[in-house]
Symmetry: C2
Subunit: 300 residues, 2 copies
Amino acid sequence: MTIKRVAIIGLGLLGGSIGLAVTERAPEIATTGWDKDPDVREKAGTRNLVGTVCATAAEAVANADLVILCVPVGAMEAAARDLAPHLPADAIISDVGSSKKSVLDALSAALPGQTIIPAHPVAGTEQSGPDAGFATLFAGRWCILTPPDDVDAQAVDALSDFWTKLGAKVELMDPDHHDLVLAVTSHIPHLIAFTIVGTASDLEDVTRSEVIKYSAGGFRDFTRIAASDPVMWRDVFLNNKGAVLEMLGRFTEDLTAMQRAIRSGDGEALHELFRRTRAIRREVIDQGQDDSKPDFGRKH
Amino acid sequence: MTIKRVAIIGLGLLGGSIGLAVTERAPEIATTGWDKDPDVREKAGTRNLVGTVCATAAEAVANADLVILCVPVGAMEAAARDLAPHLPADAIISDVGSSKKSVLDALSAALPGQTIIPAHPVAGTEQSGPDAGFATLFAGRWCILTPPDDVDAQAVDALSDFWTKLGAKVELMDPDHHDLVLAVTSHIPHLIAFTIVGTASDLEDVTRSEVIKYSAGGFRDFTRIAASDPVMWRDVFLNNKGAVLEMLGRFTEDLTAMQRAIRSGDGEALHELFRRTRAIRREVIDQGQDDSKPDFGRKH
């Protein structure tokens, strides 16, 4: 079983990058695409994000053997219901959402009997929309598949092959475990970044202009993540509530311990944590998940 | 009054970068340097971080008209006391520390009668030591001077000129206000990053290996800041306790509000914050404080 025709529903950063990556790395696979926004469809045509930009979702999926929903996780069920009457019976349905249990539930409810394999390529930038995608977004990144227990193993293999062709490394995971892992490595970091950027822009005794001017002291890093797509992220937090609240609880416990160490002047506790965290950075770089150049390789 | 001879005490990232920047951008200024660590002195000689690496601090400052202490803020007073008997009476004493009220107090106590102008170039990377410095570290960055009220205005002008020559933009500020501004734009972001990286590496239900593998979802950004020099940062938190605790209080209030919004499913509150924070990123880029390329310009 090999994927030959992929339909991409939603042509933003992720959908567009999949289309471009297929064209560049697996040109034997035909791509169709559709976005509910006519402006996005037009732009997708101009940038050749997919082989054929279709006028309707029905047309886009008509001959697909893989349909990838690239919409916010909160829009997944409605998008699937709209597609339902038009899907080929043997098409694999997948997605790229950042929470997986909610997506599995939504797609299972909307598309009974269909082969559903949720997926999450752990890749992205702070930009969004049809101008943001690029063909190498998935190179060297992990793509996590969360197939239900009773799904056809050949379909899982076919989807794995597809992502491998795009340059990703594939891992299978239970959806609940995915949601816990990503709460730590993605959702909480985003929540913290959004929050601190909000805090900094609401102060009375420090002006917004000062916050911007002196942002190179560390704050500017957080502004990048806090520039991510607002609707996508709203949906992630609403759809991974349990794991996010669990991990947020652990973070605030640790932050409270640091607060106490600062208040009591416990330099040893601070130093002990700061020494430990350095090692993690080295591991992230050693495993190819970030640039080894200082300051992310920013130009100086 | 023009600076002609600069002595740099401490030859790590900041001290080394000052020396290299003088050589590249203001070669008419002579540089001497010293570090208490003999290995650092040797490396500084190999890399030509300064014109002359001296065997003693006394020798390094003997003919200086500007002495810059590039040591952790907690080591400032002891370093100044060691230098006291050897300083030319008319030398300006400055530093590069990230907290300014504590440094002003420490240097004033150690060096009565000397011209003291604390300074903070808001620039750096996560790397440290004599290998880390480079000549363009200060280009386009702000350097904040916090002169005491009664200091010689010509000395302030001379120090401003010096930093301008290195490519920095200079601003004068009250030391207490500096400490409040930098608590927001630098110290709290670092504390949060150190903490979340610690939290993520201490979980039982998510392995360290999973945290590293899926770090491209946002977490890897925090690992960069959390790789910063542990001693430097311990000292910053111990020496800017008041402002850090004040700003941390505001952050945790805001984070608690987000936690409540997630728990109650208040998508509107989440979306409202996430939309606002996007604008700040644009201002940071428009004002030249970060790269406009997506993902900090990381290679994909």
